[in-house]
């Protein structure tokens, strides 16, 4: 059957249910959220329809600037750490036999599917005084006394890299697995060491993929809503944590919605950048 344009109204039949579901339960909620961001907050967690910009005006504070600055800095750091770790890893992985690849992919998917609650709990155990990694160091005689490694910035960063690393590998995987192996073979024949071939041939060939991956992981890390709360101090809270906190514990839906709209704008801006970067990559 060739692809053909729909002719009768009934040809649109299959589209009806998915389109309805996506519009009613994704587009409408999204619009509701935007509307609520302009609403007026009432005492007791309620809000009434209104049109005011007060929720957005709250962004113009030093506190908010700090949170935003920290969120962006944290997400950038996570993205860079993940990409630096994942590019050589994924490259080597794609050069292995399919069987070995499958084992690693299953492991990566299993970690990726873990909820932030579980990752947060696991790392807070690992960094705790009584059951943590420092106990092993004490046993090995490297440290004299077990101590807690959290809450700290390092703990937040480690937890978030742990969460985003499998994602980074899976984003890089399709591009790297299709990378022409003759590229490196040529470099090797001409006398480059494998490491030199990796840095002078593979990395430049993947420049656009790496840029796109950085942005994808950055967005992923920006979405982390629990790890900064579970592993860090209040000054390590990010925009996502603050949105959750405002929506659930402070019951200030309009302000939470305004922050969420802001986060969408930041994210969409970055997606646009990714697309532009991708287009450039195709042209080159």
């Amino acid at each position: 059957m060739r692809r053909e344009a729909p002719q009768k109204l009934s040809d649109y039949g299959p589209l009806f249910f998915p389109a309805m579901m996506l519009i009613v339960f994704f587009v409408v909620p999204f619009a509701t959220m935007i509307a609520v961001s302009f609403f007026q907050r009432q005492q007791g967690g309620f809000y009434v329809p209104a049109f005011e910009l007060a929720n957005y005006q709250r962004f113009l504070s030093l506190f908010f600037a700090n949170v935003l600055g920290f969120s962006l800095m944290l997400a950038v750091t996570v993205a860079i750490c993940c990409v630096v770790l994942a590019v050589p890893f994924t490259y080597l992985l794609t050069r292995m036999t399919r069987k070995v690849q499958i084992v690693w992919l299953v492991a990566l998917l299993s970690v990726l599917s873990l909820s932030e609650v579980i990752i947060g709990f696991a790392w807070s155990t690992l960094f705790s005084r009584t059951a943590g990694i420092t106990n092993l160091l004490v046993m090995a005689g490297i440290m004299s006394e077990a101590k807690a490694l959290l809450p700290s910035f390092g703990a937040v960063l480690t937890g978030m890299v742990y969460q985003a690393f499998p994602y980074t590998v899976l984003v890089l995987y399709p591009a790297l697995v299709r990378l022409d192996p003759t590229l490196t073979e040529a470099a090797r024949t001409l006398g480059a060491s494998p490491i030199k071939a990796f840095f002078t041939v593979v990395i430049p060939a993947l420049r656009n993929t790496i840029t796109a991956t950085l942005i994808m992981v950055f967005i992923f890390a920006l979405g982390s809503y629990l790890l900064p709360q579970l592993l860090g101090r209040p000054q390590h809270w990010t925009l996502s944590v603050l949105i959750t906190d405002q929506a659930i514990y402070q019951s200030n839906m309009p302000f939470a919605a305004a922050m969420a709209v802001f986060l969408v704008l930041v994210t969409l801006g970055l997606v646009a950048l990714t697309v532009i970067a991708g287009r450039k990559g195709e042209a080159a």
């Binding site: 299959p14 999204f30 399919r98 579980i118 709990f121 809503y225």
Partner: protein
Amino acid sequence: MTGALSKVYFFLIGLFLALPMIVVAGVSVNAKQTLAFLPKGFSLSWYGEIFLNPEWRNALFASLTLAILSAALAVAIALPLAWFLWRRIAPWANIFQLLGIAPFTLPPVITALGLLTFWATTGFYGQPWTAVVSHAIFFVTLPLVTLSLGFTAIDRSLVEAAATMGADDRTIFRTVVLPLILPYIVSGYAFAFVLSLNEYIVAYMTVGFTMETLPIKIFNALRYGYTPTMASVTILFVATAAIIFSLVARFGDLPKLLGAMSSDDT
């Protein structure tokens, strides 16, 4: 020399990925209710606790029900959409493909908050079925991506042959397309199921005050201190995910699902 170096690198990455789970597995078999590693004593009672303690059992039951239903709904949304986009030339319909991918690409708090305001406005806030719909929308991306991939792998001449022999759209779908696309339906379902089982924020914002799924239960328990059941549930989760993904890999082509060429091409 480079071979050894890459082995060390893979070992370190593997250690990084496994270490939290090793420690959690360790504390989950402590004999007493203490957070200690290495474990003091050995007992599997905290695994029994998941099924014996009514609170944990209810949470497990809620999570399983939610995951089974929402993954099914996600597939029910994705399948006709992917089929239509493959069957018809309708460029404007690609907007729905985009809408299907957006919930998973945007930061999860946004989808969660959107659904929270929506359910609150429509007055259904807190009803268990709203979580099913919310998760189905949130995870529709996964079956949509696997199914789109599956459709591109179908040889159109097969379908054309069936059409020449006089089969109508419905018959073709049932007898030719469905058997070919089935592995992709199963893997799309599996991805959505595992992620729904683990999902916290959307479930919490939609039904968090009326019902506890396992991730919500762990989080609530975490705020009141430590119980070893959290550790045993965590291990149960990791094991479930690993088993399901292994099954997908066993019966399907996992590298291909994740973007590699199919194994026949290489």
